[in-house]
Amino acid sequence: MKISGSEIVLECLKKEGVKHIFGYPGGVVLHLFDHIYKDKDIQLILTRHEQGATHMADAYSRSTGEVGVALVTSGPGATNTVTGLATAAMDSIPMVVFSGQVPTMLIGNDAFQEADIVGITRPCTKYNYLVKDVQELAYTIKEAFHIARSGRPGPVLIDLPRDITAAMTEFVWPAEINLRSYNPTFEGNRWMIEKAAQMIIKAKRPVIIAGGGIISSGASDELRELAELSGVPVTTTLMGIGGFPSTHYLNLGMPGMHGTYYANMAIQSADLLVAVGMRFDDRVTGKVDAFAPNAEIIHIDIDPTSIRKNVDVDVPIVGDCKRVITVLNSVIRGEVSNQWEEIRRAWMRQIDEWKRLRPLSYNYSPDVIKPQYVVEKLYEITAGEAIITTEVGQNQMWAAQFFKYDKPRTFLSSGGLGTMGYGFPAAIGAQVANPDKLVIDIAGDGSIQMNIQELATAVIYKLPVKVAILNNRYLGMVRQWQELFYGERYSHSNLDVVPDFVKVAEAYGAVGLRAEKPSEVEPVIREALKVNRPVFMDFVVDWKEKVYPMVPAGAPIDQMLFDKEAEKDDKKLKLVK
């Protein structure tokens, strides 16, 4: 029996196990939307902007490990997905975006709502397709999902001309995908792994740096075993947060520009770095020539291009983190001696000393709300049982520093691209995928305004996401740089007129709450958690607050700036002195 291209798309999505699509209709995808209208198995979440749809699909994926799916129309609908695709590409998130296209015979004619989206998205997708023959449609979709989720995952775009969605053909679901030109390496080289194991065993001052690859390959348990087995402390990059429990005694927190003092000091003093599923981003390394000057480096990553791209390594291992660490653990397990604790004792003592000397701290005030205090309270009240999404800037760093994440896929943040406006749609996408979990977006007043229209989506689909707006009336991170490095000339970082977020929430039919004093923070959070509706919590915070520690751009990561005032008043520090 022949069916239309639109029906084939839906059949393929069902075969791939897709239950939700985030989308927005338009002229050339009406045929497909007509079939979605009749379909009982797949729910389309209508967003208010195509960018929102892509971030929702992205976070749907980040919070579950499934492939997120978005569907948009041609032209502006398609170009609006570019930021979402680039965000997912930089963070290796599997996602398939379907974009409508003008009919095949009109392509290239500058037709109404035509955009060369395959050309535009080539550098920000893992792969993309223009389907020109309905007979290739099913195979293309299966291949797209395969490419999106295998190897180093990433977003894939499929451009569907209108005539293809209506064309009729037999539906044949391909038995398997065979791509002679695409064969990711999963198993690490055994000899290299054994060499790595020997280096770990012999190291006196080893550190593991774990990145997003731990989460995408599902290697948290293996990583934990590796750390405990060999007594090696672990620092997790922004993308790796949750891949190793924040509350674990071996966790050093985040390294790099706004990393902890002890993580950065440990890296700079280490004699061995075990880098797993991370890519030595400039925000992690600081001045790259001065990064980990005394360390030999083992680098485990599924993407060969990540290895020796920014940093020279001694033992490169190309492979899937989970499989490589599993083998690594089995080798180390065979070698463990009783002197383990003895060998690491001096190193761990040194790290504890650094932790005591400069813990993450801020200057609490009884008069004005400190943004870090809000994040701490969120952690305390939720007991960490939440999925946290973030926007980008100070809110993101404080969310990374002051909330604790013991499970993977609970911290969703745009790491590589640094997309303001990511967090709120991401929270919605994560809530769709995890209806029973608490989802909180830690936002800034700048970022939240970049996709605030999605509040309508949250309200209509009854998605009770909570948004904690750390409202400082500034683009805080920009302001911080201007204060520290541009002579306090606050060029266009003052947002001046910030809307009344309580009224905005109410206008959309959500709940708006505000806290202006520290004493109001806890009641507002408790109230927000009580209502089963989307809530904006407007925390009017100290606009002068900065993110510390901070490594100035281009400096080595052990040259950190600290909050002098906070240190002066920090009780924990006084105890040391």
């Binding site: 395959v118 050309g119 080539r122 550098p123 893992k126 792969y127 223009l130 490419i147 791509l179 002679r180 030109s181 695409y182 993407d303 060969p304 291009t305 020796r308 791209k309």
Partner: protein
């Protein structure tokens, strides 16, 4: 140290592949000195020959990044492989009357061919490696070179004996 590398790439013969490859070079700031593309015996596969330069780390990244492209089947950096390479040039010269015979003589020495002639000009075809072509061009300069066009380089590894 910057060195010149000739990289031979087997790719799926699909539309858009050339732009994926050239986009990779431009997007990552690598340089393409010359590029030539043609079909292989298998109509589904094309071969690209790209001449680029960079230090060892850059060229390692280039080959890895090329390998990462979904449509790339095989990448071979011919730098350390014994190989034959050829490019072809067409040169239009307008020699003075007394230079005409010298032009023809040089063309013969370089095993070139005159492929078009008019009252005032000869168009000469020369194939060879870069050195030979440069040498010929140098000799033609005094002969009044009017136009010059060069193909991209193509290269093939020598069979191991």
């Amino acid at each position: 140290m910057m060195k010149k590398h000739t990289i031979s790439i087997l790719v799926e013969n699909k539309f858009g592949v050339l732009s994926r490859v050239s986009g990779l070079f431009s997007g990552r700031g690598y340089n393409i000195e010359s590029i030539s593309v043609g079909e292989t015996l298998d109509k589904n596969i094309s071969v690209m020959t790209i001449v680029t330069h960079g230090d060892d780390i850059i060229v390692e990244q280039i080959t890895k990044q090329l390998n990462k492209l979904i449509d790339v089947i095989k990448v071979q950096d011919l730098y350390e492989t014994d190989h034959v390479e050829r490019e072809m040039v067409l040169i239009k010269v307008s020699p003075k009357i007394e230079q005409k015979s010298e032009v023809l003589r040089l063309t013969e020495i370089f095993r070139g061919k005159v492929v078009d002639s008019s009252q005032k000009t000869y168009t000469i075809e020369i194939t060879g490696d870069e050195k030979k072509i440069d040498a010929f061009l140098e000799l033609m300069k005094p002969m009044g070179v009017k136009e010059f066009i060069c193909s991209g380089k193509i290269a093939i590894a020598r069979e191991k004996k």
